[in-house]
Symmetry: C2
Subunit: 615 residues, 2 copies
């Protein structure tokens, strides 16, 4: 029978308790993001400060994490975001979900606030809150090792699951992330690292010998299905490409269609993109390729900057497309060494590299527009590196930047320098050139997000069908909206399983049908693929209800800059206005929402009547 065993740790009272969610809840929310969102909506009092002890971190694996089914090793975190002031979720790969499940738990809820720095150790079901004063202050790499050592393990990230924060989280930097083992994995977006910091929680170490498949009703059947689908995923063309180049194979592709945001979305084409492309970096910087625990893709590209002014002494750098864009093109920077150094600093100091790029980009625009006096210009690597340190430690102007892009733009009287939604900056695709994002970014519940519905799947990869990313005919708009909605459900589903989203990029990937098969095999359920998508829809609505409850970010709004034509490149002249303005109406209609809010009928259809009081 499907159960989801949660460890609840109150750092204020040091009370440690256990609760088990049964099939009635699991079949509605699965785990990961879905169950996290549901509990957060139920438990977090309206209007609390994200830094208050009342905020909670829901650190949840999924019902298939740590099993024979591959690519389901992601760990998902939900909480109230210090960056956006409302609901957020974020997830990371690595081995934490695996070791958490082996520890005997499926999820951990951290609430309250410790007086002095602590970490939580879960060793084969045994839970202790341990002092971490001697680890507080350490950068994330060293903190990971120190936590392992203190917990009695070798300082090797493979030996146990570790979550930690860096100085940025400790200093309540609003874009701080949570680093997870193994190797520079980040639940970056939304600033949940600062929530851990506010709780004086330096980290969590999990390990054990529990078999996560123990409760499966038909292990043989599950093994058969899981093996088939794992092999299928391994053989998908996108998996092979990701293994070869990692996520950054996207730079040249997205730049070539004019959708590569440059200089804080000034334009969609970066003239110097070549030097930060996946191909160039693969040839000149990548030394190793790794992957998450139990993953058939192994996409992680590990680079080295061995000399020169941006040398990273004795350390490897995990690098990604989003980070390279955020700290490269978005800052007008094409010096490969410097971009990789910035990525390393983001990871070590513990900040979301995307929001870091958003914030620095916003800062540069504010300087350019004369709103702030500072000696910096686009591509000014030295000044950018200094600012990253100053942000993490909240030094001087870094104290303002540590508040994130949205607050920075508002403080300095230029709200339109912020390019994002729901208080979080947009990532590495210009929605004026990849118009699916005009709907997808803006309607994303966590704000400014490409992962709640990844429209290049159809716009670039043609899955399930090719849509011209620039097309604005009524038919194209309608298709985009429908695909975004479908993807939003599929992604919410994936984040709750917890699948890696790279399973859905290829026609030979893993979709609702396969997920339904896996759950039916594991738990003897009789779900249909449509029921699986409805779980996704339910989760998406629960998340929106959090905003409704807070009375914040309910309406979906396109940032002003997206209404200005792209200045240069292949998508020159395009805006996101038409797609958004017309699409959002259909989006609301199809969702059964009015003005960004689900109606009672919608809640009822999704079995969410218990939240009708919020309407």
């Amino acid at each position: 029978m499907a159960v989801f065993k949660v460890l609840r740790v109150d750092l204020s009272t040091e009370k440690i308790s256990e609760e088990v969610y049964k099939e009635d809840i699991i079949r509605k929310f699965l785990g990961g993001r879905g169950l996290g969102a549901y509990l957060a909506l139920k438990e977090l009092p309206r209007g609390i400060d994200p830094f208050s002890p009342s905020n909670k971190l829901y650190i949840f694996a999924g019902p298939l994490s740590g099993t024979a089914n591959l690519a389901t090793s992601r760990i998902n975190v939900v909480g109230k975001s210090p960056l956006t002031g409302s609901y957020t979720h974020s997830n990371a790969g690595g081995n934490f979900a695996y070791w958490l499940r082996r520890s005997g738990y499926d999820g951990i809820i951290v609430e309250g606030k410790a007086d002095e720095p602590v970490y939580i150790l879960v060793k084969d079901g045994e839970v202790t809150i341990r002092p971490a004063k001697h680890i507080w202050g350490k950068w994330t790499g060293a903190a990971t090792k120190a936590l392992l050592t203190d917990a009695g393990f070798e300082p090797d990230e493979k030996k146990a699951g570790v979550m930690t924060i860096g100085p940025a989280g400790e200093d309540l930097v609003r874009i701080a992330g949570l680093r997870f083992s193994d190797y520079e994995r980040f639940a970056g977006r939304g600033g949940l690292g600062a929530v851990a910091g506010a709780k004086k929680l330096k980290g969590i170490v999990v390990w054990g010998t529990h078999d996560p498949m123990k409760e499966f009703v038909d292990r043989q059947r599950f093994l058969k299905v899981a093996t088939e689908y794992s092999v299928k995923l391994m053989n998908a063309a996108t998996s092979k490409a990701l293994h070869q180049y990692g996520t950054n194979l996207l730079t040249n592709i997205i730049n070539s269609i004019g959708g590569y945001p440059t200089r804080n979305f000034e334009t969609g084409y970066f003239e110097e993109a070549e030097k930060i492309s996946g191909e160039y970096i693969k040839q000149n910087y990548v030394k190793e390729v790794h992957g998450c625990m139990l993953c058939p893709i192994q996409c992680t590209q590990i680079t080295v900057v061995a000399s020169g002014p941006y040398k990273v002494a004795g350390e490897k750098i995990k690098y990604e497309y989003e980070s390279t864009w955020a700290l490269g093109a978005n800052l007008g920077l094409s010096q490969t060494d410097a971009v990789l150094k910035l990525e390393k600093l983001a990871n070590e100091l513990g900040m979301d590299s995307i929001s870091l790029g958003n914030t620095l980009g916003t800062f540069l625009e504010l300087v350019k527009r004369g709103k702030i006096q500072y000696d910096i210009s686009w591509g000014d690597a030295a000044s950018l590196i200094d600012l990253v340190y100053k942000m993490a430690y909240r030094i001087d102007i870094g104290d303002d930047l540590a508040e994130g892009d949205w607050r920075l733009a508002n403080k300095y009287g230029a709200p339109d320098a912020f390019v994002g939604s729901r208080g979080q900056g947009f990532p590495a695709y210009d929605p004026r050139a990849l118009k699916g994002f005009a709907i997808s970014y803006v309607t994303a519940n966590r704000g400014g997000d490409h992962l709640e519905a990844y429209s290049p799947t159809w716009e670039v990869l043609g899955v399930p069908e090719k849509i011209d990313p620039l097309c604005e005919t009524p038919e194209c708009i309608s298709k985009q909206v429908r695909l975004v909605i479908y993807a939003q459900h599929l992604m919410a589903l994936a984040d709750s399983v917890t699948y890696c989203k790279f399973d859905t990029l290829d026609k030979d990937g893993i979709f609702e049908t396969h997920i339904s098969d896996l759950f039916n095999a594991a738990f003897g359920w009789d779900t249909t693929p449509q029921e699986m998508l409805t779980i996704g829809e339910r989760i998406f609505n629960v998340e929106r209800l959090f905003h409704v409850k807070e009375g914040k970010w309910v309406k979906d709004e396109l940032p002003p800059k997206m209404r200005e034509p792209i200045k240069t490149g292949p998508a020159q002249g395009h805006t996101a206005s038409k797609m958004f303005d017309e699409g959002i109406k259909e989006f609301y209609k199809l969702r059964g929402w009015v003005d960004g809010k689900p109606t009672y009928e919608t809640l009822k259809r999704l079995g969410l009547e218990e939240f009708q009081y919020l309407l």
Copy 2:
């Protein structure tokens, strides 16, 4: 009548009291370093941890600070050093001594330890302890401005005297310094910034309208003498040279005689010195020349690094010979931009630039010798910059480096990689090539110090007579020892007046005769020049008694590397062994010391019988 009014602030009890030292004490110790040393010896219990509340900071101006006599604006600090574990003193220029005297006090003693960060505000005799939690964490430049603002002044360093510490002091980095206004002045050596950090003392602000000459018995006579001597000092050739090039005019001079320590004293000649010489930097980097309050020399060279990978955005950099050597030649680094950037980081993060260079140099040697595994080599600017951040915040290997060169070398099993004495690293002259330093460095009470007796005065400048720095004849050795002893007294005197030592570099400078004249005029005393020198000797002995009391560093020892011949350059083949081994015997004899300890007869001769119990 001469009085010295001291403010005593106990941060544990918040007790604020006042005590006035009268002529019986003043005429024996004057103020500044002398009075500080005397009180520290009397008050500090034997064996205390430098970070304990029992340690004290004696922040003293001199009896001539803030008066019409110029070049006496230095502020002197005495305390137990976290770096050496015994007595230290350190002083800085700027305007703090001036504003302290105008506030109505001549000195401040800070003792105890606050629970939360505080600063001390002295406004025209009114003293308050104010919360500084909102300033804690700031780098020294921003902290200075924040302290001024909080105290009700414009954020302009000219408006009041400010002392502050940076993150290094807060993090108890053992080489942390105290920054004083106006503009990047440091009492750097000995780590007293970390003592302030341990006391949770972020800073001190002093201001007032008191007239420091009010107690002078014959103001007219004093004004006449002071004016004459101030003009005399202004017209000295060395003053003009210092004004033009600053202290760094020394690089080419010292390198040309083979005494410019390179790569942690591997040799005495740096092939690439040109790029970090005063002449080169003047031509290419210096944008302004400033000076201390009431100083006729104005030697401060202010540079700018406006672009490139070591750009210092929007800020000026005060740079000096010692710092440029320590963070340049001593690390095998000749990239001017990078050296200046390192100097700026030292100042902003709040570390003694000399000991920072010593520590990084020791680290590099340890790596080269295989004692530590780290990807770094001589002149590796990028890695060095990262390490400076890591030291200030005690991150990873930076935590070891933050303990300073002596502890680092010992921890990693190569004590001889430390080049210094009494636990403090040697500065920018190789005592194998400028042999006066073989005596002067090693016998310096604060350890590893060039300023307790600056032998280039005679070896390079020929004041009072030219001595060949390489000469080792019995006659030369004897002359060196006698001149070192004379200079030790003159310097102790200057630090207690508190004169800038640049008054003694020129035959047309200021010596004991002039100081005697000034005091006689100010207070109606009848001192002789010899009495003035005896004050210096008394102070020097009091300091040595501190070590005797602690049972630490009593013996004077030449570090092993100074017994190895210089490998290259004009002084190739020379060692410091003969000068030291023979000189130290005569030194002890002339001083009336046995094995580094004053005898009873010596104490009696100097009027220090009260300390005979220490023998």
